[in-house]
């Protein structure tokens, strides 16, 4: 079966088993290894990508279901020499990263979350992280950085008259 979709803004055409998990195509055929295949069962969140702007685990997404969709991976979030996404910049500034394997997925989940929930509280941020496991950091610094990011966006929004993270 032929599947066509947008991958990080470019047309992508695949001919293969439509049940192939998207994560395998990304990693093994496109060498987009920023998407991590950790549990492959949808529990860990390390393989999160955006499909039509919604964060989904790419291990549970058969490529047959991305026909006509726009897929963005961590590599597409801030490509080349582009500035980091504000969340990435906050994680870097807060020294939140340790081994780093969970972070691409964490960034993809939370970038969709902060876009849709500009007024989220700390407990709401934690609730949003239920599908992203981190084995190194103990989470709190990640939560702090997300809260800081929202705070900065709100302050910038007050100046610019709108909120955009």
């Amino acid at each position: 079966m032929v599947v066509t979709f947008q991958l990080n803004g470019e047309d992508c055409r695949l001919d293969g088993d439509p049940m192939t998990p998207l994560v395998d195509i990304l990693r093994q055929e496109r060498f987009l290894t920023g998407t991590k295949a950790v549990c492959r069962e949808g529990f860990c969140g390390a393989c999160m990508v955006h499909v039509d702007d919604e964060a989904v685990p790419s291990c549970l997404k058969p490529i047959g279901l991305v026909q006509g969709c726009a897929v963005t991976t961590i590599e597409g979030l801030s490509s080349g020499n582009q500035a980091l996404h504000p969340l990435q910049a906050n994680f870097e500034a807060a020294d939140a990263v340790q081994c780093g394997m969970c972070f691409p997925g964490m960034v993809m989940s939370l970038s969709a979350f902060v876009r849709d929930n500009p007024h989220a509280s700390r407990p709401e941020i934690k609730a949003a992280m239920v599908g992203n496991i981190c084995r190194c950091t103990g989470y709190e610094r990640i939560v702090d950085a997300v809260a800081d990011c929202l705070d900065q966006a709100r302050k910038a929004g007050q100046l610019a008259g709108g909120i955009h993270v």
Binding site: T33, G34, E75, D95, C99, G100, M101, P104, R135, G138
Partner: protein, 782 residues
């Protein structure tokens, strides 16, 4: 103190940006289309004899390029004793044991060919528990144990006892016979803990110019090199190991496991071969923190003096000795730590069973021995009517006190740390109000750990652009030592900025021997070797600059990238100018440095079968937990958590705080819900993320921590390792807090809701160990 002010800072991680953008290439991101893929045939029985193993049909399957079995790698490896084959030879000892490996053009082809291997196994009666293994008539997991090569002399061994270490100081019988003491006895049992690094064990092997090259996700490149040499019966120098960034280790990658297989297949095929554990394989064969059984007895006077103490600790090493052989040593320093004791004797035994082998996990052995010791201490306090905090303040180790092996501890550290915990609690307040009708408990516990020192080497090359290249066998596993403390140390020594220090990733062809990244040792051991290397660089740099400036070298100093004349800021010349001159006159400026343990003495005759008789750098912690227990569901919520940690000297406070938060949360998982059990057919039951319950964001609280500086340390600038120890006393603090909340003795971890409910309703049977004899000496090999 200018050296210190140039070293201590909250340096951010240089690897964070690429990690956040998904650009970092971990080992398992490096598979290429031209590589062969290897898959393992693993045992589906826990014990048996291989009657037939025929791989000829598999070799003819599409895409298959090689099949290897134990016969292709006949050497045995291990720690202390060489008991472990790379692939099973004749005997199966655990469910999941690798028996054969297939390399094919694709993973799919390799998997398909597995079915073509003809394997006949005659099952043997498995020995699943330490109780079974210690029965007088128990079947031997290793029938040929007597014939194994002994790598380290000194441990007693017999049958299913892979290794036994003892410590004995003073007349314990006399202490227990005193008329003025009461005897308190406690028994504890703990399960395994799975590391769950997000990057599983993975290796890429190639065969280049007659030598193996293994790229792998490991904490111990030199161990992988040496083990590969051993099993392939090659001089280890014919193996090169390089290490990309590691996606989590936590001790799991502190031993070799599947890496040598890739070198073997690369030699057979002439191709590059990748082998990566699936998540299921990774968890089913995880070299877990071992399950253990502990019986401890103390003789205590009415005044609260611990006159005598004895303990038996059984550690399940699983099918092969591995790290547990070494870790028997640690009981003397963990269960034998924390408190002043009159006379003491401790035995720990690593016991073979037909279960997946265990290994090293952050603060190995210490985590459960600290749980046992602290709960036992609370049971002493309850039996004799002491206040637990006052009892601890009175009895913790201080200056001049003796450890279990007769080591003399220096300085009062734990006592002042307990005071600091009270100050910290006063500043944060307590959280009892949040219990909101649930059962509330608070407990303060102490712990003793150490820095695992040992050999490290470093080379520093000073470059003509003013940068320095640091070459070591250190590995960045996530803790930040390679990107924070080490460049900070080198920069501080040479008057550079940390971003001018290039840190080479581990390559056993480029750097000297190193024990590995673990045991909280990297900042201390590689750091000390780096300081020594910098001393040579400094000496050469100042000598050259002295000639150029017509000034004595002792009147020069290094600051802000310049060689300056002391007392005249801005004088002298830039480091690049001096380096360029040296390159043209005496040659490039390089320095090398080395470090190893100082081997602090124990008391003569006190330590038997120990790999470390005394601690060169003890590390202490004080942990305090507040919990609320729901009496209807048994659920334990952690309301607050506080830590005072002995860090010696903190080089990067923010990085250390990150290690404390992460280590405590791993400990909360161990204490509350990370549970590994063995099925009736010998498998680890929890082999995925659905069945193994890791801590999630909503389970955790921000840890309040106070870094205690100033305790003596031989580490560079007075440092101690800070990444290992945060997990040490979490099981203890949670166990003690839950026991106080529910008013029942806690003698087992993890405290899952069903277990807490059983404890509340007195339906949880206390641990009983019929295989531990009443008399201490009967539990030793004499």
């Amino acid at each position: 103190m200018s050296e210190l002010s140039a070293t201590v800072m909250n340096l951010p991680r240089r690897d964070a940006r690429d990690k956040l953008r998904g650009r970092t290439k971990y080992t398992n991101d490096r598979a290429r289309p031209d590589m062969l893929h290897a898959v393992l045939l693993r045992s589906t029985v826990p014990a048996g004899r291989i009657r037939k193993l025929d791989v000829s049909a598999a070799l003819r399957c599409p895409g298959v390029r090689a099949v290897a079995t134990g016969a292709d790698a006949p050497g045995l490896y291990g720690i202390g004793i060489a008991d472990h084959p790379l692939l099973a030879i004749d005997t199966i000892r655990y469910h999941g044991e690798p028996i054969a490996v297939i390399a094919a053009e694709t993973e799919k082809q390799a998997r398909a060919a597995l079915a073509a291997i003809v394997l006949e196994i005659e099952p043997l009666a498995p020995v699943f528990t330490m109780a079974d293994a210690l029965q007088p008539a128990a079947r031997l997991v290793h029938e040929g144990w007597r014939g194994y090569e002994v790598i380290t002399e000194g441990g007693a061994r017999a049958g299913n006892i892979a290794w036994e270490a003892k410590s004995s100081r003073g007349d314990v019988d006399a202490a227990f016979a005193r008329p003025d003491i009461r005897i308190v006895e406690s028994s504890f049992t703990v399960g395994r803990q799975s590391h769950v690094p997000f990057e599983p064990r993975v290796a890429i092997g190639s065969w280049e110019d007659g030598r193996a090259h293994i790229q792998t996700s490991t904490q111990v490149p030199w161990t992988v090199r040496n083990v590969t040499g051993k099993v392939m019966q090659l001089p280890p120098g014919r193996v090169r190991v390089t290490v990309p960034p590691v996606g989590g280790g936590f001790g799991l990658k502190f031993d070799a496991s599947i890496e040598p297989i890739t070198a073997l297949l690369a030699r057979m095929t002439g191709r590059t071969v990748v082998l990566e554990n699936t998540r299921q394989e990774e968890m089913a064969t995880c070299l877990c923190r071992e399950n253990a059984e502990i019986r401890i007895r103390s003789a205590v006077t009415a005044e609260g003096y611990i006159a005598g103490r004895e303990a038996v600790v059984l550690m399940d090493c699983g099918a092969y000795g591995g790290e547990q052989v070494f870790l028997t040593t640690m009981t003397a320093h963990t269960l034998g730590g924390n408190y002043k004791v009159g006379a003491t004797r401790l035995v720990s035994r690593a016991v073979y069973t037909n279960t997946p082998p265990n290994g090293a996990f952050r603060a190995c052995n210490g985590v459960y021995n600290t749980f046992a010791l602290e709960r036992h201490t609370d049971e002493i306090c309850e039996a004799l009517g002491f206040d637990p905090m006052e009892f601890r303040k009175k009895n913790v180790l201080g200056d001049g006190d003796l450890g279990a092996t007769g080591q003399v501890f220096e300085a009062d550290v734990l006592g002042p740390m307990l005071d600091r915990m009270e100050t910290l609690r006063a500043s944060t307040g307590t959280s009892e109000a949040k219990a909101d009708g649930r059962l509330y408990g608070i407990a303060t516990t102490v712990g003793t750990w150490f820095v695992f020192v040992g050999p490290s080497a470093a080379t520093v090359n000073l470059n003509a652009d003013g940068s320095a290249t640091l070459v070591t066998s250190g590995v960045e596993i996530g803790s930040g030592t390679m990107v924070q403390s080490l460049p900070q140390i080198v920069a501080g020594q040479l008057g550079l900025a940390p971003d001018q220090v290039i840190v080479r990733e581990a390559d056993t062809d480029a750097a000297g021997l190193d024990v590995g990244v673990g045991g909280g040792r990297t900042t201390v051991s590689i750091g000390a070797a780096s300081v020594a290397a910098c001393a040579e660089v400094r000496e050469k740099l100042l000598r050259t600059a002295g000639e150029m400036l017509q000034t004595r070298p002792e009147d020069l100093l290094l600051r802000d990238g310049r060689v300056e004349i002391t007392g005249r800021p801005g004088s002298g010349m830039s480091i690049p100018a001096v380096v360029a001159h040296a390159q043209a006159t005496t040659g490039p400026i390089t320095g090398s440095g080395a470090f190893t343990a100082k081997n602090t003495p124990a008391m003569s005759g006190c330590a038997m079968g120990h790999f470390i008789d005394a601690l060169d750098i003890p590390v202490f912690v004080v942990h305090e937990a507040e919990v609320a227990v729901d009496a209807d569901t048994g659920h334990v919520e952690v309301l607050a958590y506080r830590v005072v940690q002995d860090v010696g000297r903190v080089l990067n406070p923010r990085a250390v705080m990150g290690q404390i938060q992460g280590g405590v949360v791993q400990g909360l998982g161990y204490a509350l819900h990370e549970e590994v059990t063995i099925t009736a057919d010998g498998r680890i039951a929890q082999d995925d993320f659905e069945t193994y319950r890791l801590p999630l964001a909503q389970d955790v609280v921000p840890v309040a921590a106070d870094l205690y500086e100033g305790a003596p340390s031989m580490g560079p600038l007075g440092t101690k390792g800070a990444g290992e120890v945060p997990i040490l006393a979490v099981g203890a603090a949670i166990g003690c807090a839950v026991a106080r909340a529910i008013g029942k003795p806690v003698r087992q971890l993890p405290l899952t809701p069903p277990r807490v409910l059983r404890l509340l309703h007195e339906r949880e049977p206390p641990p009983e160990f019929p295989h531990i004899a009443p008399g201490w000496a009967s539990n030793t090999l004499g």
